[in-house]
């Protein structure tokens, strides 16, 4: 197309500028991929090898480091905690978020705008800064050092953006569908659960990724509320592991690989969904 940047047919100056741009982009690609490659390679090396030959490949490939971390250092446990917390929070983000979106977008009532605004006010303001009262609330509910503390907070953090995205989508679904269902004797809840939810499937996939990635990666709230070794999530576990083993480079790189590689593998298969999901909140 005429609007595509192509090297062919371009003037010399344009060619040079495009080539410079390509080089800059390639440098960034290398800056992304090489450190990741080096991280995985280093996880198979000893501290000595890493420090003396930082760029060399490992002499042998042994998974001993991985076994040490996964079994002895409790990474299996961290992983399970992260999964439990992320999945439970996301289930309720989707259920409560979509219910609220349905209520706001499909009924007209006096407080409609106010309720919508209450939900939206949670989007922009960073909850981290409210950690003191949040801590007092969680303490009062006797949830300190339980997974529920983080699950509740993550549900609360996920609902505003879910309402923003889903209510916008549900508003565009024609009224006729609802009327037809109502004439057939459908209850309001069945209209929501059996007609609207399937219609919103693609938007629900977006909000799931939009919220699940930050929840999975979140560090601050588990750091504050999950002090006990038993409940630590992967980022917090990684952090305390780094504090305790700061000189064993091989193990440190193994810990990082365990934290990062699963995300890379998932991304390889679903990059389109990850990209669309993560930028869903920033574009309309």
């Amino acid at each position: 197309m005429i609007t595509d940047f192509q090297l062919r047919n371009a003037s010399t100056l344009k060619k040079i500028i495009l080539l410079i741009c390509l080089v800059v982009m390639l440098i960034y690609v290398i800056l992304i991929l090489y450190p990741l490659f080096n991280m995985v390679v280093s996880s198979f090396k000893t501290t000595r090898q890493i420090l003396q030959h930082p760029f060399s490949l490992p002499e042998t490939v042994s998974f001993a480091n991985y076994k040490t971390l996964w079994v002895d250092k409790g990474f299996a446990n961290y992983f399970i905690n992260s999964i439990i917390i992320t999945v439970s929070a996301m289930v309720f983000v989707v259920i409560f978020g979509s219910m609220a979106s349905f209520g706001i977008s499909r009924y007209s009532f006096k407080a409609n705008t106010l309720v919508y605004m209450l939900f939206l006010s949670g989007i922009m303001l960073p909850l981290k800064a409210a950690i003191i009262p949040l801590f007092l609330i969680i303490k009062k509910l006797a949830l300190v050092n339980t997974r529920l503390s983080c699950i509740f907070i993550f549900i609360a953090m996920g609902i505003p953006s879910t309402v923003f995205i889903l209510a916008g989508f549900m508003k565009m679904i024609p009224k006729d569908i609802e009327y037809a269902a109502r004439i057939d004797g459908c209850s309001d809840f069945r209209i929501y659960a059996q007609i609207f939810m399937p219609l919103c499937a693609s938007s629900i996939a977006l909000v799931t990724i939009y919220n699940a990635v930050p929840i999975w990666n979140d560090f601050f709230f588990p750091l504050v509320f999950l002090q006990s070794e038993k409940f630590k999530t992967l980022p917090v576990g990684l952090s305390s592991f780094f504090g305790q083993n700061s000189t064993n480079w091989g193990l440190l790189f193994t810990g990082l690989s365990i934290a990062i590689v699963p995300m890379v593998v998932m991304y390889l298969f679903m990059s389109k969904y990850f990209i669309r999901g993560m930028i869903a909140g920033a574009i309309k």
Binding site: I2, F96, L118, P133, F135, I159, W249, M263, I283
Partner: protein
């Protein structure tokens, strides 16, 4: 109220209440309580007498709060300026190049977005290792014969904050890139084609057509950068520690706030009054800077 509208109210409540309740208890209530708490003296976790704006005044005027606060705020400002200048500018460039289908654009798009998905903590620790005095970056400098450029990147006050900001930019460039890509893609191709057929040059096409039309995306990215810069915490925690080592050179409002709330500034016990005052300041700055940038960019917006 008759039976029908009562039933309607019940139905609406059923849908809206569970979500609203959780948002109110875990987001809105803590926000209001921060404001409330900041106006009291605190004895550890016990609220004492009402002092009004004393805590905020103390934060701005008294040692050591004043020194720590403005030192941290200065660093947050550096975060914002450098992120806008490097990350978002490169993001705009990359997004534009990909939108114009430069060679390999699908490949670049996928690779650029990869680090965005990593946890800040993992990225911070990974680069923390690479930036150690005996880490990969210095080894690479030695390999190309530039040992004179080697530094203790996170240990020298001059480079520490800059290094941490660069690591964060490394992780995040893909995000503005793809937001701008999506924004430019949503401009109809016909406008660009028409401009070309009328003989407009590249420079004109970008500044006269593309740029004015993606101002909403620029607003979003700017507001997100403001929020992100005011809430830097994990990056400093993982690469420099809670105290913002060396000698508070990397301290930010986020780490200062955490120390005040849970550890304390230079003494040892949590100071809830001052901590709440800091959070009120964070909220006010987030709100007003975002509002200001929205008003500023909106005045530049155009419609087709």
């Amino acid at each position: 109220m008759n039976g029908k509208s009562l039933r309607k109210t019940g139905t609406i409540l059923m849908f809206v209440t569970p979500g609203l309740l959780i948002v109110v208890v875990f987001i809105l209530m803590p926000l209001l309580m921060s404001l409330f708490n900041s106006m009291f003296n605190w004895n550890q976790l016990i609220r004492a007498e009402f002092v009004g704006l004393e805590n905020i005044k103390k934060l701005f005027n008294t040692y050591p709060y004043k020194e720590r606060f403005f030192n941290a705020l200065g660093n947050n400002l550096r975060w914002f300026v450098l992120t806008m200048a490097i990350q978002n500018t490169l993001g705009l460039l990359f997004g534009y190049l990909m939108a114009r289908r430069i060679l390999g654009h699908e490949f670049f798009k996928r690779v650029f977005f990869l680090p965005v998905l990593f946890s800040i903590v993992a990225v911070g620790f990974l680069w923390g290792l690479y930036l150690r005095p005996n880490g990969l970056l210095n080894a690479a400098l030695a390999a190309v014969g530039r040992t004179d450029l080697q530094h203790a990147w996170l240990g020298e006050a001059r480079y520490a904050t800059l290094s941490i900001i660069m690591v964060n930019i490394w992780r995040w460039i893909g995000f503005p890139s793809l937001v701008f890509l999506a924004a430019i893609d949503s401009i109809g191709q016909e406008y660009l084609e028409a401009a070309y057929l009328d003989g407009a040059g590249e420079w004109q096409v970008f500044w006269k057509i593309v740029f004015p039309l993606i101002i909403p995306a620029i607003t979003v990215i700017t507001v997100l950068t403001i929020i992100g810069s005011l809430n830097v915490f994990e990056q400093v925690y993982t690469m420099a520690g809670l105290d913002g080592a060396p000698n508070y050179a990397t301290d930010t409002i986020g780490t200062l706030f955490y120390r005040t709330a849970f550890g304390s500034v230079d003494s040892g016990s949590p100071e809830i009054g001052i901590g709440s005052a800091i959070s009120v300041v964070i909220y006010l700055m987030t709100f007003f800077f975002s509002l200001f940038s929205i008003i500023f960019t909106r005045s530049k917006e155009v419609e087709l």
